[in-house]
Symmetry: C2
Subunit: 398 residues, 2 copies
Amino acid sequence: MTKTLLKSLLIDQPSGTPESVIVRCLSQRGAISAAQIARMTGLARSTVSTALTGLRKSGMVVEIVGPQEGTKGVGRPAAALALNPEAGTCVGIHISLDEVRLMVADVSHSVIAEQNIPLGVDYTPQQAARMAKEVIAQSYADKGLPVSGLLGVGVSVSGPVSPDGVVQRASIVPTWAGVNIRNVFGPVLQQPIFADNESNCSAIAEMMWGAAVGHEDFVLFKIDLGVGGAIVQNGRILTGIAGGAGEFGHISIDPTGDLCRCGNRGCLELYASFTRPLEQIARVVGRSVTMDDAILMAEQGDVRALRMIGDTAEIAGRGLGMIGSVINPPLIIIGGRMALAGDILLVPLVASYEKHTLIKARDLPPELRTRITIGKHTENDVLLGAVGLVLRHHGRLQ
Amino acid sequence: MTKTLLKSLLIDQPSGTPESVIVRCLSQRGAISAAQIARMTGLARSTVSTALTGLRKSGMVVEIVGPQEGTKGVGRPAAALALNPEAGTCVGIHISLDEVRLMVADVSHSVIAEQNIPLGVDYTPQQAARMAKEVIAQSYADKGLPVSGLLGVGVSVSGPVSPDGVVQRASIVPTWAGVNIRNVFGPVLQQPIFADNESNCSAIAEMMWGAAVGHEDFVLFKIDLGVGGAIVQNGRILTGIAGGAGEFGHISIDPTGDLCRCGNRGCLELYASFTRPLEQIARVVGRSVTMDDAILMAEQGDVRALRMIGDTAEIAGRGLGMIGSVINPPLIIIGGRMALAGDILLVPLVASYEKHTLIKARDLPPELRTRITIGKHTENDVLLGAVGLVLRHHGRLQ
């Protein structure tokens, strides 16, 4: 009963009643006070109070006392309200080259299960959907969760996704190019499907659980084996007309440069990702090196790893300086695996940003400066974000 | 009485009553129907109807029949509602190197007067404010308008303006660097002061009277003796934390390139503005050449002018391709004086954009493509936009 009602309020109703507005707010924010709900929704405090009485009576909203994982630093009061963890669950799926990863979380923002499904590099989207269905059923059975409590499935894709759910460019996962995510997962899973590209999912993860909690406007810049990004404004991901916003890795910085996998020349990704630096380090040390290896080497003072991370920071800062001259955001979060290098990456990156962007921090009072910081999630950000698609009702495919 | 009330609804009330919401909607949109007001404001049609009855009775809102300048193409119905032109006026001011330009318009979006005040290159902000006061008084007297009907003054500045009204960088108008616009104009004019940079004002002009009427999301890219720009999202100008959003001319595309007036190297403005092409044309023709001369030469088939415009289009398209990979906007409007070249500029620019941006039009259905078009205003866009600051209540300095 409660589950049906929650699904109706959270997923089906396009807008409307105070109850559905409050449930969506809690779904997005985790645990907050009644006063915060009133402020965030714009509803009158008396309206919030009346609606909450009903929602608590029905068991859909519960009071949480004491600190809870993932909500630290949000200024959460001692007694906060949250959706009843038993009232519903979400599934997040991440599609990558040779596997599909899957996460189950409840509406109070707690992760219940996580699983990787190896599929081999030539798997078809249909195989992925069938396997996802099996794994979801198995995970729910293992945890004793009713599948009827599933509110929706969020899909994170390594490529731009158009508003109608078509994967636009999929050089990382070629079998998904041109595929309509809704058509693949909808009929098999029989659930509301949400989708966006992986960097936008990472931004949602940082916004809901990470370094952007409490921030409505920021830019995410991921430095990994590729370069990705996302723009958040007024708490919403900027998708662009065709799903192509935030594709920072494919800013062409040298029109005569090397060919990029996207078909353009001299894309930022070729210079600011850590793929080429790893090749350079591997060449001089005479063995293959991972990003984690390189970071460890740099932490131990290896001048070669330090130089490669510094050079990457320099050009990433230059690319971010361009983005700064376009958007002038209040906050930039550095994500991706290389963010684990911390200050070794951040310090030269910030210096390079300051050098190349138009508006210089030194000319501004602190409150007008763009703050650049390391993200909190690098391991499972895309999966958390895929769950977040459902909780934030972002990227719903109709 | 009506004037006092309008000022109260339009300027003083931070939010609130249906009347103030409707008056602000009409102030932004010009002439629209009651049904459009309901849709745009989200108010119930019955609420709109009741409030409009009161507003018409007080003479603040009037019915307009037949077509009216500046509202064509918006799908305006035969009988539309607008603010009573007699109910209030706005002043727009544009600050440039050696003069201050001034425009008076009424709340129905009609221009009443326009005037240039030559001041010489070394004028102080205080002189500008005093002269503005005199010219406003004179203009209002000439037209028989009561100064009491003045609702506010919008100021367009050739440089980024921070949210608190400080001119951040003013290489075009050096005497204004670091000046607080509110402190200069507020005490002298004794009016609510609004301010933003000139490209943002141009975007407002295109949104209210030009090529972006009916569009809530677009990018403006100005090609003139400099390069400027603006980003509009959900009908609002994106200002950035320190007023530095949309500074496309200062995307540094070549970190080893020539020094730019902003203090960085290789800014897009050095290559995509028409300053260097004019020098090149002047050198080969043996006389000084203006932008209008060059456009005329190109229209008459002069291969030298055609080449320079083509080369500028190529690099402007490349710069816009970068912006496309960051924002993926539905609409890009080309403004600035060089936009008068029309297709001579636009055709190679669109081809270059398609070449250099990530998401290619050829891969997309028409409804997902970024449309690039020439703006409607190149002559008085900054002044219209300065008036628009007041009408749209954007950039209010408190």
